[in-house]
């Protein structure tokens, strides 16, 4: 019955954010952001603090009015519409359940604001509580519930009036780790059941990668890259995203020649040949570039084709599922490797020179310098 009641909800709305700008005095919190969100899509805004992700969400919620730019939900321009007339659902970081109301009254609050009669709003609030698996908790007070339960009530309250967009402002960061993972699944499940469009703000990249259909990476009020998790992880569009998402090895190189292959010179003087597809950004010979490789793409030994590299190991860290090898190239550049299935490595000790192979397709080249 819980799913049935939720299913009546209209599916999600599409959202178009165009050339959004928000300045606070001389500071640009959001600097020309364009995002097109499809109906029913789950999108995460990911970035360090001060990147503008929260300001974008606040503008969509109507708590901030942008300096310029527009926000459309479906085809309706909501840019300067007050929050209470936007009909959006929102979940906050700190639950924000009203402490003077019972759980049921909290969930029924938006229905009360919409003028529904007591009996109907209580029935619908009960159904929404059942959707988040808290049926029967209606008579309790918010402070009688755990953090995770409170956030589920907040979720029920945000969907009970069947909004077509759900905004979430770091909703899981106040919860401890296990609860966070449960709630991630809970939110994913609700998203699938309701077909609602979700904008999810987080600074936790693994949360963004596991939950969202697409992720917008932000820095200094600008979108660095927007795309599905796999694309962000496997082919980051620029150096910032490459360093921000996951672990990455970086080596400063000089471009020697560009053609069917790209030749680069390492600080040690070695020359490596990379396929032309390795260049994420257009490169010219003579330019400085950065070579990027994920630690888990390094293969121990030379049995596979690819670029061979010798690393002097300094630390060997047992990290459960994988073994983390930390070492340096001859010029001192740090290089890390994550090797799953650690049994054959028992002989390695710090000080050893280990030989790795990097598959050609695992190497990415960016313009610029790391340091």
């Amino acid at each position: 019955m819980n799913i049935a009641s939720a299913r009546q909800s209209a599916s999600g709305a599409s959202i178009r954010i165009s050339r959004l700008e928000k300045r606070f005095g001389a500071v640009s919190a959001v600097d020309g952001v364009d995002i097109e969100i499809a109906a029913g899509e789950f999108i995460a805004l990911l970035g360090p603090s001060g990147s503008g992700k929260t300001t974008i969400l606040m503008s969509v919620a109507g708590f901030e009015f942008p300096t310029s730019g527009t926000i459309h939900v479906d085809s309706e321009d909501l840019t300067y519409v007050p929050s209470n007339r936007r009909n959006l659902g929102m979940v906050f970081q700190n639950y924000t359940l009203f402490p003077h109301m019972s759980i049921l009254d909290n969930v029924a609050f938006p229905l009360k604001m919409r003028g529904l009669r007591t009996a109907e709003r209580h029935a619908r609030a009960e159904a929404a509580l059942a959707t988040v698996r808290l049926a029967g908790y209606g008579q309790r007070r918010p402070n009688e519930l755990s953090g995770g339960q409170q956030q589920r009530v907040a979720l029920a309250r945000a969907i009970v009036y069947q909004p077509r967009v759900l905004l979430m402002d770091e909703p899981l960061s106040a919860l401890d780790k296990n609860l966070r993972e449960d709630m991630q699944l809970e939110i994913k499940r609700l998203h699938a059941e309701l077909g609602i469009t979700v904008i999810f703000v987080t600074h936790d990249q693994s949360e963004a990668l596991t939950m969202a259909d697409r992720i917008a990476v932000l820095k200094d009020g600008k979108i660095q890259q927007i795309g599905p998790a796999r694309q962000l992880y496997e082919r980051p569009a620029n150096l910032f995203t490459a360093g921000f998402i996951g672990e990455m090895n970086f080596v400063d190189v000089a471009v020697q020649s560009v053609g069917d292959n790209i030749s680069v010179t390492l600080p040690s003087g070695e020359t490596w040949r990379l396929p032309a597809t390795a260049a994420v950004e257009p490169l010219a010979s003579g330019e400085a570039a950065v070579l990027a490789v994920r630690p888990e793409r390094l293969q121990l030994g030379t049995s596979l084709p690819g670029q061979v590299v010798a690393v002097t190991l300094s630390d060997i860290v047992y990290a459960g599922a994988a073994l983390l090898l930390i070492g340096r190239l001859p010029d001192g550049t740090e290089m890390r490797a994550r090797i799953p299935g650690a049994s054959q490595l028992s002989s390695l000790v710090p000080g050893d020179v280990a030989t790795f192979t990097i598959p050609a397709e695992a190497m990415l080249l960016y313009r610029g310098k790391r340091r």
């Binding site: 919620a61 109507g62 708590f63 007050p82 929050s83 209470n84 007339r85 936007r86 009909n87 959006l88 659902g89 929102m90 906050f92 700190n94 924000t96 009203f98 402490p99 003077h100 609050f109 938006p110 009360k112 604001m113 919409r114 007070r141 918010p142 402070n143 309250r157 945000a158 009036y161 905004l167």
Partner: protein
């Protein structure tokens, strides 16, 4: 209200204070309270029932004499009006203070607190100056052509209520401000995004959550207003006495100490009853859901 086993008296290293240290810390305060407050009050209460001979006659006079009864009722009514007026004037100021930042907010805070540093007498005298027959208010009204004759403002109950509300306003504003400050901004935002208009946010969220502040402010103002002396004596009409003026008259002019004592006894009874009713009926901890 405090849980058993929990105390606010601690050693600096976290151990509970011994009985002796507690005694030493609190003794001077309670000695003074006992000497200048409890003892005289008890003394008066004793006089009220023992003089001229063991009797409840003095109390009977308070209720039986319609003049005295009216003084009592007028006092309660005036205190109620003063409380209502200061909630009405104080709540918006407290709300503004709790939400504003910067220079203007600091300025408002100073304006609220500054009057506390000047004497009640000065502030009351200022009002009598304004309320005079040819004072600022009447001259202004006549200059604007709103009236041809000056109003009688001084020596009226309205003058007393307005001036008392002004004197007591900080005691209303500060507790409400404290309560409003502890309400996170996100509650307002949450209510707004859930569809509440500004008025409904105020009525359904802000007001209920600030109620403890409103109640404690009202209690402070009401109880102080009950026993207020200077303002009613200077601005009020002699025909519309308040209880404190009557007590003073009985002691200084009529020299009827037993009757004055009975009046004080009635006032004390009211104050005590009110305090009990408030603390029993309004369970603040439940109201706030015992929030962390």
């Amino acid at each position: 209200m405090t849980e058993p086993g929990r105390s606010h008296f601690w050693h600096s290293d976290g151990r509970r204070l011994s009985g002796l240290s507690t005694l030493l810390l609190l003794l001077p305060f309670f000695a003074i309270i006992a000497f200048v407050f409890v003892y005289p009050i008890l003394q008066l209460l004793v006089i009220s029932v023992l003089e001229p001979h063991p009797t409840l006659e003095n109390y009977a006079r308070v209720v039986e004499n319609p003049v005295h009864l009216r003084v009592l009722l007028r006092t309660l009514w005036t205190a109620t009006l003063v409380t209502a007026l200061s909630v009405f004037l104080g709540f918006p100021v407290a709300y503004y203070m709790s939400r504003a930042k910067g220079t203007v907010a600091a300025l408002v805070a100073v304006c609220v607190i500054l009057p506390l540093w000047s004497s009640v007498l000065v502030r009351t005298a200022a009002w009598s100056f304004l309320f005079q027959r040819n004072g600022l208010i009447n001259s202004a009204l006549m200059a604007l052509g709103l009236t041809s004759q000056p109003f009688k403002l001084l020596y009226t109950q309205s003058a007393v209520v307005i001036a008392m509300a002004h004197v007591l306003l900080p005691f209303m504003i500060l507790p409400i401000y404290g309560a409003l400050r502890s309400i996170p901004n996100d509650y307002e935002r949450a209510a707004a995004v859930l569809g509440a208009t500004r008025l409904r946010i105020l009525l359904e969220v802000i007001l209920p959550l600030s109620l403890p502040g409103v109640v404690s402010g009202s209690l402070l103002v009401f109880l102080t207003a009950l026993g207020f002396f200077i303002t009613p004596a200077l601005l009020g009409s002699p025909q519309e006495m308040m209880i404190s003026t009557l007590v003073s008259k009985q002691i200084r002019e009529v020299l009827d100490w037993p009757f004055a004592a009975a009046l004080v006894g009635v006032l004390t009874l009211f104050v005590t009853l009110l305090a009990i009713i408030f603390s029993k009926t309004l369970r603040f901890d439940r109201l706030m859901g015992n929030a962390s």
